[in-house]
Symmetry: C2
Subunit: 167 residues, 2 copies
């Protein structure tokens, strides 16, 4: 069975026991999570989130610059008023450079990625500080709400705060 077919089988079991069919569209706990796509990080389990609680935005590295469209929609249209940013230890973004992945994509896919910024970083804590600065510099998102950035330790499951930004 293909992995996607396995996921569909798991979904059948989930749907068979589903009891949360009448939740409202706006997140109940009014918070947006920006987190890395890393497989070892499950934001819902790690932060105690249930279906209906929070927007969860994820990308490679948990980079805010790529989350601004989503955060603007989350805040302006759906009422969230807090942001938590979660990067993590042993992140893949620490292991490569733009030049390296561009070379690899050229070799494996014949792709020209010279115009693409893959947003790797070399320092976890700096990546959080940079992303809070990106948040603060964007006109699209609210500055009068808490924005706090954390490193998740994939060995312990624990968050460590790096920086908080309040108006």
């Amino acid at each position: 069975m293909s992995v996607i077919d396995e996921l569909l089988r798991a979904n059948e079991a989930y749907a068979a026991q589903f009891t949360k069919g009448s939740l409202p569209l706006p997140p109940g706990r009014k918070v947006a999570v920006v987190a890395c796509m890393d497989a070892r990080l499950d934001p819902a389990r790690a932060l105690g989130l249930e279906e209906g609680d929070a927007h969860v935005i994820r990308n490679a590295g948990g980079r805010v610059v790529e989350a601004l469209r989503s955060l603007a929609i989350s805040q302006a249209l759906l009422g969230t008023d807090a942001v938590i940013i979660v990067h993590h230890t042993d992140c893949g973004m620490l292991t490569f450079t733009d030049e390296g992945i561009r070379r690899q994509l050229r070799q494996t896919l014949a792709a020209d990625a010279d115009h693409v910024a893959f947003l790797p970083f070399s320092d976890m804590d700096a990546s959080i500080r940079d992303d809070i600065a990106v948040y603060r510099s964007s006109p699209l998102v609210r500055k009068d709400i808490p924005v706090r950035g954390f490193i998740y330790d994939v060995r312990t499951g624990r968050l460590r705060e790096v920086e908080a930004s309040r108006a």
Copy 2:
């Protein structure tokens, strides 16, 4: 207590029982999920994913155009070889237009968002077909792997397949 402090308290409980501290960086099940940020959709629970299994990329709408950087990293550097795209019923992206959110951001934040594409859509199934077409047109991602798109029903917890793309 602020909502972020509540999440941190939940994280302490998660970390106290954490047993998955030695998982490898590459996703064990070699699959990448692209899904909407919607609060009612928990991709891990809905698809039976455990920590370590899959990359999960999420944004407003689950739009592939904003996931291409992450998918390229997921495939080229971390070995995933299947993609599942999940949009859903009652999506916030069905409720607004670029013009509407631009006007709102101008009124509430004095923000000029005239240059920003917020990627709303007016037809769920078409949004999946469009996003599979975006995937297929990108040079950055593999075309020799399964890419399948689904609508998640927030009333039932069940996935419905819209389109599959195979090389």
